[in-house]
C-alpha cells in the first residue's frame, strides 16, 4: 500500500514573525524556513507504518517554490521513499487539495496522512477538503493510528477527551501533536536522501487551476500583551476572568 504525505515549507517555528511595514504580508526576507511541525509528525507516522511492514511506499509531496525541495529532502531523510514537488507558489488550501487529489489518483495511494494544519496560516482545511474531493472517510487530529486489514483505527483528540474511530480504507488522517515524537534525520540518512528520487510537476501538468481566489486586505501584528496586575484575592481573580477577560 502506498501512502502520500504532504509536507509544507513554512517559516521556522523559532523565528519571531514580523509584519511588513506596509501591512501587505509577513516579512519573509532572510527568514529561516523549515518543515511544518505537524507534517513532520505525519512523515514519522508513515515511516513507522513502513518499518512495521504494513505499507510499501511513502511518498512525500510538497506544493511550493523550488526551495521546497529542501523540505522534501528532509522528509526523505526521515525515511520517505521518494518525493514529488508541485511547483506552485502561494497555493490556497482548496488548490492544494485539488493538486493532492490528482496525485493520489495518479499514484494510486490508499492513505494520505497530513498535518492537521500548517503553522503559517493555521487554515486547518486541506485534509478535510481532500477527503471531500475524493469522497473518502477522514479522521482528523489523530493521537493514535492503527492500521488493520482494509481499515484504520484512529484515536482523535476532541474537546471532551479522546474519540476512537474505525475507517474503511482508503482514508485521510490528519495528525495532532501527541501522535508521535518525530526522529532526527541521522547523518547517514541525510546522505541517502540525496540519492532518492524527487520528481517535479506543475499544476498544469496535473490539470489543476491553482489561481488564488482569496484577497488579503491587510496583515497586522497581534495586539501587544499589556502589563500584568496583582489581584488581592481569588475572588477578585475569578471576577476579573468572568467580567473583564470573559474567559470563564
Amino acid at each position: 500500500m502506498r501512502v502520500l504525505v504532504p509536507v509544507k515549507r513554512v517559516i521556522d517555528y523559532n523565528v519571531k514573525i514580523r509584519v511588513k511595514p506596509d501591512g501587505s504580508g509577513v516579512d519573509m526576507a532572510n527568514v529561516k524556513m523549515s518543515m511544518n511541525p505537524f507534517d513532520e509528525i505525519a512523515i514519522e507516522e508513515a515511516v513507522r507504518l513502513k518499518e512495521k511492514g504494513q505499507i510499501t511506499e511513502v511518498i512525500a509531496v510538497s506544493v511550493g517554490p523550488a526551495q521546497a525541495q529542501e523540505t522534501i529532502r528532509t522528509a526523505l531523510a526521515i525515511g520517505a521513499d521518494r518525493g514529488i514537488l508541485v511547483t506552485q507558489e502561494g497555493a490556497e488550501p482548496l488548490a492544494v487539495a485539488k493538486l493532492l487529489k490528482a496525485l493520489v489518483e495518479k499514484e494510486g495511494a490508499e492513505l494520505v496522512i497530513l498535518g492537521k494544519q500548517a503553522i503559517d496560516d493555521d487554515s486547518n482545511q486541506t485534509g478535510q477538503m481532500l477527503a471531500a474531493l475524493l469522497g473518502w472517510g477522514q479522521a482528523t487530529f489523530a493521537s493514535k493510528v492503527e492500521l488493520g486489514d482494509g481499515k484504520i483505527t484512529v484515536t482523535r483528540e476532541v474537546d471532551g477527551g479522546l474519540e476512537t474511530d474505525e475507517l474503511k480504507l482508503p482514508a485521510i488522517v490528519t495528525t495532532d501533536l501527541r501522535l508521535n515524537e518525530p526522529r532526527y534525520a541521522s547523518l547517514p540518512n541525510i546522505m541517502k536522501a540525496k540519492k532518492k528520487q524527487l520528481d517535479t510537476v506543475s499544476a498544469a501538468d496535473l490539470g489543476v487551476d491553482a489561481t488564488p481566489r482569496l484577497k488579503t486586505l491587510k496583515v497586522v501584528e497581534p495586539p501587544k500583551r499589556g502589563a500584568g496586575v496583582k489581584v488581592a484575592s481569588v475572588q477578585e481573580l475569578v471576577d476579573k476572568l468572568k467580567n473583564e477577560a470573559k474567559v470563564i
Binding site: N14, V15, E70, R73, A77, Y184, S186, L187, M191, A193
Partner: protein, 601 residues
C-alpha cells in the same frame, strides 16, 4: 534569539560566501557531499543542540557528577543527549567511510560541533574527546586495535579519554612517572591487540575518566617503559602511548580505580577524575605505535583538540554575545545623555554608547574567534585535498603556525567577551538567574587545559617561529598581502588595509630583532604577550578578508553587512593598536618581570 545559539546567517556567510567550502565537494574525497547535505547536517546540529543539549545546561552545573563506591554517575540527561548524538551519526561524521564514518570535511564537522558547544560545552566535551581519541587510533593503530577500540567510539557506543597529566606533570609532560612493564617480561609478547604491558601510575585531571554513560571507556595513556636499570628514561623522548580500556575483552574490569573527582569552577557536566592505574598489580595496556613515540603521536590528537578548545571558547563567546544582545534590547534603563525631560520613559540600554561598545567588542571578539577556528579547520581539509606535496607542506606549515593561536586567542578574548556579557546584564548578570555567569565559569578553563596560555606562547614564539628562523612565519606573509591588496582596491577598506599592513610589518620587525639577538632564553620571557598580539594581527587579517568578501555582496541583508563591516572597523581601529606596546616589550627584551627576584614579591 529563539533557541538558536548561532545565527544561521553567520554560519552560511562563513562557510560559503567567505571560505567557499563547497569547493571541497569537487574533490573525489568529498564527492559524495554537497551544499545541500552540509546544510541538512548543520540544521540537524542546531536542532539537536537546542532540544537535547541546552535543556540540561543549568542542571548539569547544579548537579555535579558523583562518586560513590568507586563508581561515577552523571545526570541522565547527559546520557540521553549523547545517545541521541550517536543515533544521529554525529560521532562518525568526520571519519572515513572505511571506518564507518561519513567522510564529512573537518570544517563542517567543526561548524556542527560549534552548536553543541554553545548549547552545552560540558556535554559536548565527551564526543569531542572521543573523536580526537579515535582519530589517533585510526591513524596509528593496527587493524585489530582499530576494530576493537576505535570503531565503537566512532559509533558512539564507547567514549574515550586522553590521560596525559599527572599530579607532578601538568605543563611538563617530560616528567610523567606512570610506568609500563612488558607483560610476562617480554616487550615483544604479542597479544592480538598489540604488545601487552602492565601500567601503573596516577593520572590527574582526566576528563571523562569515568562515568556511567557508556559501559566501556578507552583511555589513551602516556607512560614510560623503564630501561634495563629499572629507571624511567628522562625527557619526552622516553614517552610511549598505551591503549588502556576500562573493560577487558573477557568482560572483567581492568585495574583502574577512581581515586577522586575534581570539583570544578565550571564545565561541571564533564566528569574530571584522578585515576589510579595498577593498584592491583598493573592495568593491562596495549602499546600504540613504537616505544618513545608517545608524545609525537599524542600531538596528533592534541592539534585537533587544541582547535576544538578554541572552538569551545569561541562558541561560548557567541552565546554570551547573543544573550547580552537580547538583554540589551529589552532592558529599559536611563535616558540619552542629552535628554532634558526626566519624566520621559526610560530607554533600552542598547541605545547607550557604552553598552554599544561592549556589544561591538563582543561581536568583534566572538565572530573573529569563530572565523579563526573555521579557517583553521578548513586548512585541515585543504591540506588533505592539496594538489601536490609542495602545496600540502605549505598548508601544513600554516596550520602549525596558527594552531597555538587558534587555541589561545579565543580562550583569552572569548573570556573577555563573556566579561562584557555579564557587565551588560548589570547586577542580574552576577546572579544564577541568568546564564552569563555560568558561561563565564565554563569558559574559564580554556586558557588552562590543552597547554596553558603561557605554554602556547612559548610554542608559538619558540618552536613555531624562532626555531626555523621565521620560515613558517614567512608563509603567512603572502596570505596577508593578498587580503591587503584586495582591500586596498576598495575605497572604504583602504585605510584598514594600511593599518593591517603596518601591524604585519611590526610583527616581522620584532621577529627579526629576536633572530638577530639570538638569545633564546630571554626572547621567550614575554612570549605570552607576543601570542596575544600576534593573535590580534591574525584576527584583524581574517576580519579584513571577510570585509572584502561582504563589501561586494549587494544581495546580502543590509543590516547584516553593516554589522560585519563595523565589527571589522572596530577591531582594526580600536583593538589592533593595542599590539604596539605588547610588541615593544618583546622586541626590547624587557626583563622587568623576568628578573624580579622571588624574594621581592
Amino acid at each position: 534569539m529563539g533557541s538558536a545559539f548561532l545565527d544561521p546567517r553567520d554560519v552560511q556567510f562563513w562557510l560559503y560566501d567567505w571560505l567557499g567550502v563547497d569547493a571541497l565537494t569537487g574533490h573525489p574525497v568529498y564527492a559524495d557531499h554537497s551544499r545541500e547535505t552540509f546544510d541538512a547536517i548543520l540544521e540537524l546540529s542546531a536542532r539537536l543542540a537546542s532540544d537535547k543539549f541546552a535543556t540540561h545546561y543549568k542542571k548539569a552545573d547544579r548537579v555535579e557528577p558523583a562518586l560513590q563506591d568507586g563508581i561515577v554517575t552523571v545526570i541522565p540527561e547527559i546520557k540521553q543527549a549523547l545517545a541521541d548524538y550517536a543515533e544521529a551519526g554525529l560521532f562518525a561524521a568526520s571519519f572515513d567511510p572505511e571506518h564507518g564514518g561519513l567522510g564529512l570535511p573537518h570544517v563542517i564537522d567543526t561548524a556542527s560541533m560549534a552548536h553543541f558547544m554553545a548549547a552545552n560545552i560540558a556535554t559536548a566535551a565527551y564526543p569531542m574527546l572521543t573523536a580526537a581519541n579515535a582519530r589517533v587510533l585510526v591513524k596509528f593503530g593496527t587493524a585489530a586495535q582499530i576494530e576493537t577500540f576505535a570503531l565503537p567510539e566512532i559509533a558512539g557506543t564507547t567514549l574515550g579519554t586522553m590521560c596525559l597529566s599527572e599530579p607532578q606533570a601538568g605543563s611538563s609532560l617530560a616528567d610523567v612517572m606512570t610506568r609500563a612493564m612488558p607483560d610476562s617480561g617480554d616487550a615483544h609478547f604479542d597479544d592480538e591487540l598489540g604488545p601487552r604491558y602492565r601500567v601503573t601510575g596516577n593520572k590527574m585531571w582526566i576528563s571523562g575518566g569515568d562515568h556511567d554513560i557508556t559501559g566501556n571507556i578507552i583511555h589513551l595513556v602516556l607512560a614510560k617503559i623503564p630501561g634495563d636499570d629499572g629507571k624511567l628514561p628522562p625527557g619526552t623522548g622516553g614517552i610511549t602511548l598505551f591503549i588502556v580500556p576500562k573493560m577487558l575483552a573477557d568482560g572483567t574490569r581492568n585495574d583502574i580505580s577512581v581515586a577522586g573527582l575534581n570539583h570544578k569552577m565550571g564545565y561541571r557536566g564533564t566528569t574530571n577524575c584522578l585515576l589510579n592505574f595498577g593498584e592491583g598489580g598493573g592495568a593491562i595496556g596495549y602499546r600504540l605505535g613504537a616505544p618513545g613515540q608517545g608524545l609525537a603521536i599524542m600531538f596528533h590528537m592534541m592539534n585537533e583538540a587544541r582547535i576544538f578548545v578554541g572552538l569551545g571558547a569561541a562558541a561560548l563567546a557567541i552565546r554570551g554575545y547573543r544573550q547580552s544582545l537580547d538583554y540589551a534590547r529589552e532592558r529599559l534603563q536611563g535616558r540619552p545623555a542629552a535628554a532634558k525631560d526626566p519624566a520621559s520613559p526610560q530607554r533600552p540600554i542598547i541605545e547607550h554608547a557604552d553598552v554599544k561598545r561592549m556589544l561591538l567588542a563582543q561581536k568583534a571578539y566572538a565572530e573573529g574567534a569563530v572565523s579563526l577556528i573555521l579557517y583553521s579547520a578548513h586548512l585541515m581539509d585543504r591540506e588533505r585535498v592539496a594538489g601536490d606535496e609542495i602545496e600540502r607542506a605549505r598548508i601544513a606549515s600554516l596550520l602549525g603556525l596558527l594552531t597555538p593561536v587558534a587555541k589561545s586567542w579565543p580562550s583569552e578574548f572569548g573570556l573577555a567577551a563573556n566579561d562584557f556579557a555579564i557587565q551588560i546584564h548589570g547586577g542580574y548578570g552576577y546572579t544564577r538567574d541568568f546564564d552569563v555567569e555560568q558561561i563565564y565559569r565554563d569558559n574559564r578553563i580554556n586558557p588552562i587545559h590543552e597547554g596553558t596560555h603561557g605554554i602556547q606562547g612559548i610554542d608559538l614564539l619558540g618552536r613555531k617561529i624562532l626555531r626555523d628562523k621565521g620560515a613558517s612565519l614567512a608563509g603567512l606573509g603572502p596570505e596577508i598581502a593578498e587580503t591587503v591588496s584586495k582591500a586596498s582596491a576598495i575605497e572604504d577598506l583602504r585605510g584598514l588595509a594600511t593599518r593591517l599592513n603596518l601591524a604585519w610589518a611590526q610583527v616581522n620587525a620584532v621577529v627579526e630583532t629576536l633572530i638577530t639577538l639570538n638569545d633564546p632564553g630571554r626572547a621567550l620571557d614575554n612570549a605570552s604577550g607576543f601570542l596575544s598580539a600576534f593573535g590580534h594581527v591574525v584576527v584583524a587579517w581574517l576580519w579584513l578578508d571577510q570585509a572584502t568578501t561582504i563589501h561586494g555582496d549587494a544581495e546580502i541583508n543590509r543590516a547584516f553587512r553593516e554589522g560585519k563591516l563595523r565589527a571589522c572597523r572596530y577591531f582594526i581601529e580600536v583593538e589592533l593598536p593595542k599590539i604596539e606596546p605588547q610588541l615593544g616589550i618583546v622586541a626590547a627584551l624587557n626583563d622587568v618581570a623576568a628578573t624580579m627576584p622571588e624574594e621581592a614579591f
